[in-house]
């Protein structure tokens, strides 16, 4: 009997195991291996070059720019989307009139394909007669070339991510808010606590697990941004919006430099692995569990 259920377990898991091995685990390992080889030209065979690709990478200013941009992306989009998502959840959860419409407005961006959203925002950002600039000019300021200035290009992309993500995160905060026992709020009101006090003392600590969960999610997403770069800036101007996964795509499918792409992919894997470890050690230990 014993052998039977071990065997059964593996048999049931087999299809999943085979597929996961084929498309996740084996490619991850072979990416690492490929990064130690030079890119073959034409019909040649690849030859071993050790750490050469990594040396090229460390000397490549575009790589550093991409890495820096990804970190900036994470640094800014995470707190901003969390903050906005929490605010949205508080509004939708409260007894505001038109709640359902609000919820619709907040969540709809999440449903759109990123490339559709990106093209809509491209239009929105157009200098002079794009809506955003039309509004700005009504207030007397001059039109901003959002995607054409290095200083504003990356923030402009971040805004698109935040627009899409905040509604999604709102849902999780909504669920968390609905789990907060109402007697806590009663008790607070009886002690004449102000709105902000209630938030700091009750709401915030109790949604902490959700906040951390959402933050990890957002962190992973920050390293996988690519759709809007393809649709809106192509990495420009002058690499101001160059991001790691887009650079990998460009190196692999525009430059056809497979060795270098493998090295870059290894770095991406490393970044994701670090996030996974962070999640395991930090999040799973520090949460205020009920």
């Amino acid at each position: 009997m014993r052998l039977n259920f071990h065997a059964q377990g593996w048999l049931l898991a087999l299809p999943a195991v085979v597929l996961l091995a084929t498309f996740t685990h084996v490619p991850a390992v072979s990416t690492l291996i490929d990064s130690f080889y030079a890119t073959p030209r034409g019909r040649e065979v690849a030859h071993f070059v050790g750490l050469e690709q990594y040396r090229t990478m460390l000397a490549d200013p575009i790589f550093w720019r991409a890495l820096q941009n990804n970190f900036l992306y994470a640094l800014i989009t995470i707190p901003v989307s969390i903050g906005i998502a929490l605010a949205m959840a508080l509004w939708v959860n409260g007894r505001i009139r038109g709640r359902a419409v609000l919820r619709l407005a907040f969540f709809t961006p999440t449903i759109l394909p990123m490339v559709a959203a990106a093209n809509i925002w491209l239009f929105f950002y157009t200098p002079d007669y794009g809506l955003l600039n039309q509004i700005i000019r009504v207030f007397g300021n001059s039109s901003v070339n959002w995607l054409g200035s290095p200083a504003s290009a990356l923030p402009a992309l971040m805004m698109v991510t935040i627009w899409k993500e905040a509604g999604f995160f709102m849902i999780f905060f909504l669920a968390a808010l609905q789990q907060v026992p109402p007697d806590l709020y009663e008790a607070a009101r009886m002690e004449n606590a102000g709105r902000w006090q209630i938030f700091y003392r009750i709401t915030w600590p109790l949604v902490m697990p959700t906040t951390l969960f959402v933050a990890i999610n957002a962190l992973i997403n920050a390293f996988r941004v690519v759709d809007q770069v393809i649709a809106m800036t192509g990495g420009g101007p002058n690499n101001a919006t160059m991001l790691l996964l887009f650079y990998i795509y460009q190196v692999a499918f525009n430059f056809w430099d497979s060795g270098y792409a493998a090295a870059l992919s290894t770095v991406l894997l490393l970044a994701l692995a670090i996030v996974a470890l962070a999640q395991f050690f930090l999040v799973d230990r520090k949460i205020h569990y009920r």
Partner: protein
Amino acid sequence: MSRLPSSSINTAIAWLFGLLWALPLVYAFWAAFHPAAYATHFDLISPVTLANFVRAWDAAPFARYFLNSVVLVLGIMAAQFLICTLAAFGLARWKFYGADVLFALILVQLMVTPDVLILENYRTLQTLGLIDTLTGIGLPYVASAFGIFLLRQAFKTIPRELDDAARMEGASTFHTIWRVYLPLARPVYVAYGLVSVSYHWNNFLWPLIVTNSVNTRPVTVGLQVFASVDQGIDWSIICAAALMTSAPLMIAFLVFQRAFIQSFLRAGIR
């Protein structure tokens, strides 16, 4: 529910924010339903037209793109249900040798999605001869760590007595899954299905690489191919196309709002 009364200032701010948040979409609707000349001039009495949608539809084989997307997401969902159910059941019910290690390895895919290892996976598809096929787009996603995780959790909550009862009646493993587990875990399947369909309808980079021809191109890639012009952009048509590709999910969402939100909720909460 929060018992805090809402001040009217709070309400006003919320509405203003909601309006701002909806602005890009509203703008897209405006541009799509008005002639090109009015796309950037907000003349409230300008004529409403469907011409942009017609032109977008004609300019690229969107009908085929939609068909491809529908077949793709439904196919992926069906395959995911099958494969993830089997694996989740094994992992939930039995502590077989290596089950824990296996589960940990499976969870790696939560972060290392197929588009991260894009070149390697592309080469694998090449070897398998699956480039430019719908199967090729879906295959890497079918064994979904997310699905296995969700279903495993759901299965774990099903009381063992039901399992044993079924066993006593001589049911095989498959029978047990079919008769006992599936019906009880139905809400989770619905939730997962909605999340999966949304994700794969909107997926872009991987299908972009895998597909070359119109026969397999999903709507997201079709939209981007259509919008990346070398000869001058017509915003009205592009907005119309963007709205068209988003329409199925948006309509589904409007009709099934509660279900969607519950699904995403359930899918996210561990």
